[in-house]
Symmetry: C2
Subunit: 180 residues, 2 copies
DNA sequence: TCGCACATGTAACGTGTTACATGATTAG
DNA sequence: CTAATCATGTAACACGTTACATGTGCGA
């Protein structure tokens, strides 16, 4: 799954701009399992237009930069749907916190405690974000994937809260040490 | 976290070869949150040696290709540990299955059912792999991260089994259709 | 006898990020 | 008055994957 596919997927439900696609992929429903930046989205949209999978029209606005609104074409729809018949590629998960945790025994307890707290915080923010989205009017499949994400995230939170002390106990009990 | 860091992390616990580092990062304890291929590991090790963070020695073997055994240096240890004091970068999670699920309503039920079954299978294989590792003699921090991974993976499995029918119900009930 | 495990490495390629350039409006 | 939001786009760069090249021994 590349940025091209993400653009097509988001445009499948209605026209938008590159700016908005990025928002949806970092704050919206897709944020849980995907992420993309302007530097990849704009070129992807240009390429999609070249290939006839989307079309665009420029909308002037007063006092704001003009927006370039993209719409998916019939070909675009078919290409996206067809691609979903292909075998799925495996998930990729990169987590620096686990590498950090792996070396907890070499690090000061205060730092370990701080990083766990930060992680719990980040997970909680993510949960809140998804909970907010759940309030909205969603299609059933949207709700299903959101529920999946929430279940997973809540489990992370639970695990971290229940087991944080074990990890801190493995760290270096330095007498007086400020974490960074 | 890049491949360079992963190499350093694995070498922290003892000398090995590039070949083995890849194995550990795809089958071993690290596999849950990281993955790397030869094409990135070998150049990374060469660079690390240039920078004096690791050293190497060639071990001839009878009837087998010679192995190049890398060891971490004191500088290497310090560099790795120092890097763990830096703020952690956010997790990245890419999941094509969720994109697929998002479009379940446009796809034949047989296909949706098949893909969920495959996913459950993949998760189960992953769980088995980690359970096997748990049997081994592990350091406490290794056990902690493995338990974290297992908890997460088991939760995925549970969710999928309990909610798969809901997703299938949203798909296209095509009378007679072979999934691919 | 076929293919896998062992073992290292390079080159081409794909893909995405970061930083930069530009600039008005609005909310705090 | 300062920062964020809206809005598009490019260029340099970092990073990693895939495929290729090479070759032996062992188990099914």
């Amino acid at each position: 799954m590349n940025v091209r596919t993400i653009c097509l997927a988001i445009l499948f439900d209605g026209e938008t701009t590159g700016y908005d696609i990025r928002k949806q992929s970092t704050e919206g429903e897709y944020a849980y399992f995907v992420e993309a930046s302007y530097g990849s989205i704009y070129p992807a949209l240009a390429k999609l237009e070249q290939d006839g999978l989307v079309t665009s029209r420029v909308e002037e606005q007063k006092g704001r930069p003009a927006r370039k609104v993209y719409s998916i074409t019939e070909t675009g729809r078919r290409v996206l749907l067809d691609s979903l018949f292909e075998p799925l590629v495996d998930d990729s998960y990169r987590c620096e916190f686990l590498l950090f945790a792996r070396f907890a025994s070499e690090l000061p307890a205060a730092l370990v405690e701080k990083r766990i707290a930060e992680r719990i915080c980040a997970v909680e923010a993510h949960v809140s974000n998804l909970e907010e989205l759940e309030e909205r009017d969603l299609k059933p499949t949207e709700r299903w994937i959101l529920d999946y994400g929430l279940a997973s995230l809540r489990q992370h939170r639970k695990y971290l809260i229940e087991h944080k002390d074990e990890l801190v106990a493995l760290a270096q009990p330095e007498a007086a040490q400020a974490a960074q």
